[in-house]
Amino acid sequence: MSDHVDGPRQIGDPAADLTDLFAFASPGNPGRTVLGLDVFPSAGTTAMFSNVVDHSIVVRPVNIEGVGDAARFKPGAKEYRFSCRFSVLEHGPDGALIQRGACTLPGGQELKFVVNDEKGAATADGVFRVFAGLRSDPFILAWLVASLKRFPNLLEHDNVLSIVIELDPRRVFDLGNGSLLGVVAETTPVPGPPTLIGKPPPRFDWVGRPEQTNMRLNNPAMEGTEDLRDLWNQQTPFAIEEELKPLFRQRLIDSLTNWDMRDGKADWTAATLGAAADVYLDDFILIDVSKPTSDTSYLEIEKSTLRGHAYQTGGGRTVNSNVVDIMLSWMVNNDREYLQGGAKSATKPGVNTFPYLASPNTELQTVLESVELSAPPDQVWALIGPFGGTWHPLIAKIRLTGQGIGQLRTIETIDGKQIIERLAAMDNSLRLYRYTNISGIPAVDYTGTLAVKPKGSGSSVEWRVQYWADGQPDIVVKTIVSTLLKTGLEALKKRFG
């Protein structure tokens, strides 16, 4: 989400839209470096890479050319490019769709792989290992950014298309002049024969530090300012046009000033804000591959350098780094106080082993059953409206705890199982109640709605349940829920005709 749907150019094909970039030391083997990028914000349970887009992670050595308010990170000219390209879809032996890919490594070696193969592919010498496929989106955005209010993670249950490259930095990068590197990701058109119609853009999207575009250049609290995101995305990474730098720098200063005052306190001086803007203008993730990275080391290199002392960590950005909270704490109060958003972890936190991003989320399931009855709505509601009513034939006993919204019902089924549900909303005038499941069904975020509506001279009962399957295959959970709903409604049909 750090760069999701960030400009008009990205609205065309979501598979070309970069969302995140990662660079960290492998938790299982700190001697190895992991680089990763994500595309396709809010992907569902099946998604494929575009076959006409090159997905690249580009690394350059970086020198520190000043500290304190003169802090500058200057990228070198040497470039290490890891570029993945994907095929059109094929049908596998079982009829399932398959996509293949190839990653061109620095030096030109090509590593082929199959999308969604969790083992990925490795070069014979073990220097490189590559994975590409659908994963759970590890990003945490638990703020309403414009108003800076805490909120549950806005990307809960989303998936993304990820590319993960694990490598041995000592055998890939020339570290003779230092181990500090700058990393960016970009999506560019696959080179092809010239077309007589139009001209492809140099790139579709690029990303360095998270939220450069959506929170700094286009601060949502600064209404009425011109949207510079598209112009920024047209810039060449590591080489922002000199004549545009003053424009971007001023916007960054204005935006950082706004962020600083979000809590009503000025924690930054004009000089330090300007220095920070200069650092942000050189937009890449900084990682020192000779030092350890952690979930809290993101931006440590920049902060230490701006504060005039040597950095201690490898910086980088791990999969589980809560970069928005880290960034907000720095921008809003200069790390005086940690700003914790409304969620501490992503839907599925990243893992310690390759490919480091967790398996994709399953799809929200909806089970909807309804029945038409001859009896008027009030008569039916009188029976099924009470949250503790025992009208369902699969229920042996119900015990209520508490009163009103929030009360719990503990259901004992006729086969001895226990289900606990919580009343979330009750509207007797609409003859509707909503509840959530606490336990007893292998699902999360389980919400049920039972409603009785007039239908001709009789009524109709609609029972809708939504959930994410948890620990059991979708089909198994769906069968459990469907049986529960259908059996209940059939009993009502028998009773009311």
Binding site: G12, D13, A16, F40, A43, A47, E156, I197, E363, L364
Partner: protein, 422 residues
């Protein structure tokens, strides 16, 4: 006519159509999941409307209309922000051609302080679809296209120019849209190619089927599942006697459920002498159209009229639907279709009233002079000694320009049609 683009040159690359469809379905499912979790959350419903629009437009997934109705009901039920609710209602109503309802919601949105640009964009679409204030729409479309230079602003301008029979200009604008595109979505590029196919295959007075077929094929190359492009190309093949090719094109599109596919396939099968198979498809088409008309009658009145005027073989129903469509969106093209349907069933008085209304509304335009209705009007004027054909060439007053059809017989037929459909 200038040929701005050669269809055989290399075209802008786009993501493979199969991948794009997988990804559209993926994103759509995810947004529905998000919607059911928190319907009022910013941006979700708006994205769903766009995605369902794509599904209907390109995949022939007409259930999208039902899903959107569910969306607006749920959105209203959860009492989301009034401006968003009104804008989404307006957008969905407009998609279903319920233009009066759409205008009403748009007015609500405006009253509540909706962003003027969002209101203007929707209002323009409605005015264009209804042929209302067309000079102002044209000016606004030119302005938007010049300002953004983007495909999504250029294509509606091209469509408007085509409606106004400014075919060379429409062609040039579509070509510009292709040149301007800077992304890799095959939906956008297939859309322009389809529009160019329709321009050369259906809209110009002397149609150029070979040229149109090239554009339709290009659209299908971009997006193999593009149902409308398959249907239109199959029509050209059929007219050229290539029934086998037409059948090959239509068969994969049957699964979309769009009744137009069954209709055209029935025609192809009949032309191949396979009448029993044709009858099965024709039944599917008839029941498909009726199901759509029952639920979204304004959205499909135009297509239904075309079906019943053709192989659907029910001229009265065709006229009734054409008149409903004409009353809903009194464009020149709707007038032409209604006129033709009225003549087809011998309703000469109705035909004359349609003709008079069209002349009154459009007679002053260049588009009318290129319309077959102009010739009918001239013929009618000659036969009606003393009639005032010249009055048809003056601009209509404001009320007339808003599209009110006030003719008694049309109203009669319209009322009967409403009764028959609703």
């Amino acid at each position: 006519m200038n040929q701005a683009l050669n269809v055989e040159v290399n075209f802008p690359p786009a993501t493979d159509g199969h991948i794009a469809v997988v990804n559209l379905k993926s994103a759509r499912a995810q947004f529905w999941s998000r919607f059911w979790q928190a319907p009022e959350r910013s941006g979700i419903a708006e994205c769903l409307v766009e995605q369902e629009h794509l599904a209907a437009q390109f995949l022939g997934d007409l259930d999208a209309f039902n899903r959107l109705e569910t969306l607006v009901c749920e959105f209203a039920r959860v009492d989301a922000e009034p401006i968003r609710t009104a804008l989404i209602h307006a957008q969905v109503a407009s998609m279903s051609h319920r233009f009066a309802e759409a205008r009403s919601y748009l007015a609500q949105a405006e009253d509540q302080g909706a962003p003027p640009a969002a209101v203007k964009r929707l209002a323009l679409g409605i005015d264009q679809a209804c042929g209302t204030g067309i000079e102002a729409v044209l000016e606004a479309r030119y302005g938007m296209a010049a300002e953004s230079g983007r495909l999504e602003d250029l294509v509606p301008l091209g469509a408007l120019l085509a409606d106004l029979r400014e075919f060379d200009q429409a062609n040039a604008i579509y070509s510009q849209a292709l040149r301007a595109y800077q992304d890799v979505s095959p939906f956008a590029l297939a859309w322009v190619c389809f529009q160019l196919g329709a321009l050369w295959g259906e809209l110009v007075p002397d149609t150029q089927p070979i040229r149109a077929a090239q554009w339709y094929r290009r659209a299908i190359d971009y997006l193999p599942c593009y149902v409308k492009a398959r249907v239109h190309l199959a029509e050209i093949y059929s007219q050229d006697g290539r029934t086998d090719d037409a059948e090959v094109l239509l068969m994969p599109a049957i699964a979309s459920g769009d009744p137009e596919v069954s209709w055209r396939l029935a025609d192809v099968l009949n032309a191949s002498g396979r009448s029993a198979e044709a009858e099965v498809q024709m039944q599917a088409a008839r029941s498909g159209f009726e199901a759509l008309l029952q639920r979204h009658w304004l959205a499909f009145a135009d297509h239904g009229a075309e079906f019943y005027a053709g192989s659907g073989n029910d001229g009265r129903r065709a006229l009734a639907l054409a008149l409903i469509n004409l009353a809903n969106r009194p464009t020149l093209r709707a007038s032409e279709r209604a006129y033709s349907a009225a003549v087809g069933v011998g309703e000469t008085h109705v035909a004359r009233e349609i003709l008079a209304a069209a002349a009154n509304r459009w007679g002053w335009t260049g588009a009318f002079r290129l319309s077959p209705l102009a010739a009918y009007r001239a013929e009618s004027a000659r036969s009606d000694a003393g009639s005032s054909a010249s009055s048809a060439t003056t601009r209509p007053n404001a009320d007339e320009a808003r599209g009110g059809l006030t003719f008694s017989r049309i109203d009669d037929v319209h009322a009967k049609s409403l009764g028959a459909i609703t």
